[in-house]
């Protein structure tokens, strides 16, 4: 165990910091769930890509820097410290990208990874269906092969980013006689293909963070199938593994929230009459630290050849409930100003806490509800009986 950064790691941190300082937009971008904000964020992705900072862990050939996980953590720490914009293409770079590298054909890699990395093509995610939320194997959307094409019909829901994105990756049932997780295929679909209708789904804040997608005889080349026909379930599981794993929920995000919470607490220290807020702030800070420490531990282990196991579920519960707790605490500190929207006509604006509070409500739900994660921990990590 050595908890000192190497001189190279320190140098890398400074390089990241300097670049971000020079390049992060001075004024906050609009939400990427608006058309204008989406384009602003796309622009930012292109800026990142031009500096080769789009995805530092990717190999150099794809515009990455071949960073290891510790370097990735350092990058993320600096990224959140600099209050750089959220990653609009996270479905692409964190989920589909790694999956493509592992399972894609050389042609698929060339066609898709480069444009994803360059910020040219933005990706939506399309797994859930009405009636198949947590139960992903209940998929009914169909892909029927006709010559060199699949003809797609059906409906996806909870597609994040689908309102403004360029492409979507989905699972379709390619074997009509199959059931549950058999006979599924993982298919990449351009969102401007004829026969596609995207219906935005506004979320708690009124903005369309996800959408329903309707497929009506949509035709895509069979070359758009990733990992082989009928392999959809395995590919999706691999992708979901990435989702629930390290990359998407960087500890730096929560540490910076905890830092802002401590600042908010200090600022209001004199008018807080509810002394249990102190406890909630201390807890927030400890839990954010613990999440960071745990991630460093996992990263260190993976770099020595370990594998990600059920940490994924433990992590999911941890970050989502931490995020919720931090924002609830901020609401308690802001007290009766907490309900005011950030653009409200007042100096008592609550900044981004309310927006963050709304978003935090989704944490324990998406990427597998926390109830399901607790089942997984009990059954797989602890070995409790299934039925």
């Amino acid at each position: 165990m050595d908890l000192n950064y190497t001189p190279e790691q320190i140098a890398f941190r400074h390089e990241v910091r300097d670049w971000l300082q020079a390049n992060v937009p001075r004024t906050a971008l609009k939400s990427f769930d608006t058309a204008e904000g989406f384009e602003q964020h796309r622009q930012w992705e292109q800026t990142l890509a031009q500096g080769n900072w789009g995805m530092v862990t990717w190999p150099k050939e794809y515009g990455g820097r071949g960073c290891n996980l510790i370097e990735w953590l350092i990058f993320e720490e600096e990224y959140y410290r600099a209050q750089a914009p959220l990653r609009v293409n996270q479905n692409g770079i964190f989920l589909l990208g790694p999956t493509l590298m592992e399972y894609g054909t050389p042609e698929q890699k060339e066609r898709f990874i480069t444009k994803m990395a360059s910020g040219e093509e933005m990706w939506a995610q399309g797994w859930s269906e009405p009636g198949a939320g947590s139960d992903m194997a209940a998929i009914r959307s169909k892909a029927v092969r006709e010559g060199d094409e699949y003809v797609l019909n059906g409906q996806k829901v909870w597609s994040t980013r689908a309102v403004f994105a360029d492409w979507v990756f989905c699972i379709f049932r390619t074997d009509p006689t199959s059931e549950r997780h058999h006979g599924l295929s993982f298919i990449l679909v351009p969102l401007d293909a004829p026969g596609i209708t995207v219906r935005p789904i506004p979320q708690l804040n009124g903005l369309p963070g996800f959408a329903e997608i309707f497929f009506d005889d949509v035709r895509v080349p069979v070359a758009n199938c990733l990992g082989g026909e009928g392999e959809g379930w395995n590919i999706a599981m691999a992708t979901a593994g990435f989702e629930r794993g390290l990359m998407l929920r960087s500890p730096a995000r929560f540490q910076e929230t905890a830092k802002r919470l401590v600042a908010l607490y200090r600022e209001h220290a004199n008018d807080i009459v509810d002394l249990s807020v102190e406890d909630a702030v201390v807890k927030s800070f400890m839990d954010a630290e613990a999440y960071a420490l745990s991630t460093y531990q996992t990263a260190s282990r993976l770099m020595k050849g370990g594998k990600i196991g059920s940490e994924a579920s433990v992590n999911k519960i941890s970050w989502s409930e931490l995020d919720q707790h931090m924002h609830e605490t901020a609401m308690r500190i802001l007290a009766n100003n907490a309900e005011l929207l950030p653009d409200a006509n007042t100096e008592a604006t609550v900044g981004n806490w309310l927006e963050g509070f709304l978003f935090a409500q989704s944490g324990p739900i998406y990427a597998g509800t926390n109830e399901i994660q607790r089942n997984i921990i009990a059954e797989r990590l602890l070995g409790m009986p299934r039925k």
Binding site: D135, N336, E339, L340
Partner: protein, 356 residues
């Protein structure tokens, strides 16, 4: 000793409940979001006709001369339907304040008569709230300034709208100047009127919070019963059952605290601080938990704008902090408990000892 509502109270509540359930729906609330005032004039007149604005107006001013206790169940029903109209603020919070001053101040008497008939509406400001709700549709505003309370025509103030997370709420910062002719009451009477107003405000918020909590539990139970996953209703999962059971426990124990508070406000208002703060904290906790467990049990659907749950959640988040947030009220309870003269113990549940 009888801790039940009368048959009359229950029957009247039930008729109001039916009226509200029929007239105030998620659709009608959504319609209000896009309207200029966010308020429905016709609905208000229906409520006036049912006598709701007249309930706490003394009989001599054309009212029904009823009490906060008579109104508390109705306030719960207003919460249950997430009513946007300021009925609770008007009938429960503003009216008794005016009634208190009516024998000394002719403006109050006139105003009370017109509140009863639905011709006038009043909005109330208070030091614990950073904003005044529904000031835009009020004819008069009651506003605090130090130990003084003033009564002003809306034309005399300037309103700066603020947006709440709850699109049904209409909040305003009020810019105004106290003048001699606007003074309603001051000195010790002003302080005590303000304290009583706070308690009534908190009582009304608490009652609505419980109605909101119960409504969220009901809609979540319905959703988890109808929604199937892995071949069975998701509500058959023990985790979701326990989420809802926890909400029910909170709500069931907040209700008697609410009713004790309503009784105390109406019978022994100067001793009501403790009971009111207890009710507000307990009701807030019940509503926040119902919101949290409600959205969690709805899954992604609960996170959408089109699912009605958020209408209730947002109102709960707002009212939990309005008329004194949890920390404010817990602090009052704490002050009282730390007082070595506070009479507490098994034989002290009822009585005049609950003064903070």
């Amino acid at each position: 000793m009888d801790f039940t509502f009368s048959e009359d109270q229950l029957v009247f509540c039930d008729s109001v409940k039916q009226f509200l359930q029929k007239e105030v729906t998620a659709d009608s609330l959504r319609t209000g979001w896009d309207s200029q005032t966010g308020r429905d004039e016709a609905l208000w007149q229906q409520m006036v006709e049912l006598g709701l604005t007249a309930m706490l107006v003394p009989e001599q001013f054309g009212g029904l001369g009823m009490s906060e206790l008579d109104f508390v169940l109705l306030a719960q029903e207003c919460g249950r339907v997430a009513l946007a109209e300021p009925l609770v603020e008007t009938a429960l919070v503003a009216t008794p304040l005016l009634a208190c001053q009516a024998d000394r101040d002719a403006r109050c008497a006139t105003l009370l008569e017109k509140i009863a008939t639905g011709e006038r509406r009043v909005a109330v400001g208070h030091a614990v709230n950073p904003t005044v709700s529904d000031a835009h549709i009020a004819d008069y505003l009651i506003l605090p300034s130090g130990n003084e309370i003033h009564l002003l025509e809306r034309e005399r103030v300037s309103l700066i709208p603020l947006q709440s997370v709850d699109p049904s709420r209409r909040l305003f910062k009020v810019e105004w100047r106290p003048e001699e002719e606007t003074l309603l009451v001051n000195g010790a009477r002003g302080v005590s009127a303000m304290a009583a107003t706070l308690n009534r405000g908190a009582l009304g918020a608490a009652a609505q919070l419980i109605g909101l909590a119960e409504a969220m539990v009901d809609m979540t139970v319905q959703y988890t019963t109808d929604r199937f996953q892995f071949g069975r209703a998701i509500g058959s999962n023990q985790a979701l059952k326990h989420h809802m059971a926890n909400c029910a426990v909170k709500t069931e124990f907040a209700k008697p605290a609410l009713y004790r508070a309503a009784y105390t406000v109406s019978q022994r208002p100067v001793h009501a601080d403790f009971a009111v703060s207890h009710a507000k904290v307990a009701a807030g906790e019940a509503a926040l938990l119902a919101a949290k467990n409600g959205i969690q049990s709805h899954g992604a659907m609960g996170y959408t704008w089109e699912c009605n749950l958020h209408i209730w959640m947002k109102r709960a988040w707002a009212l939990d902090k309005f008329w004194g947030h949890s920390g404010f009220h817990k602090n009052r309870l704490h002050q009282w408990l730390m007082n070595p003269n506070a009479k507490i113990g098994a034989d002290k549940t009822f009585g005049e000892q609950h003064k903070i």
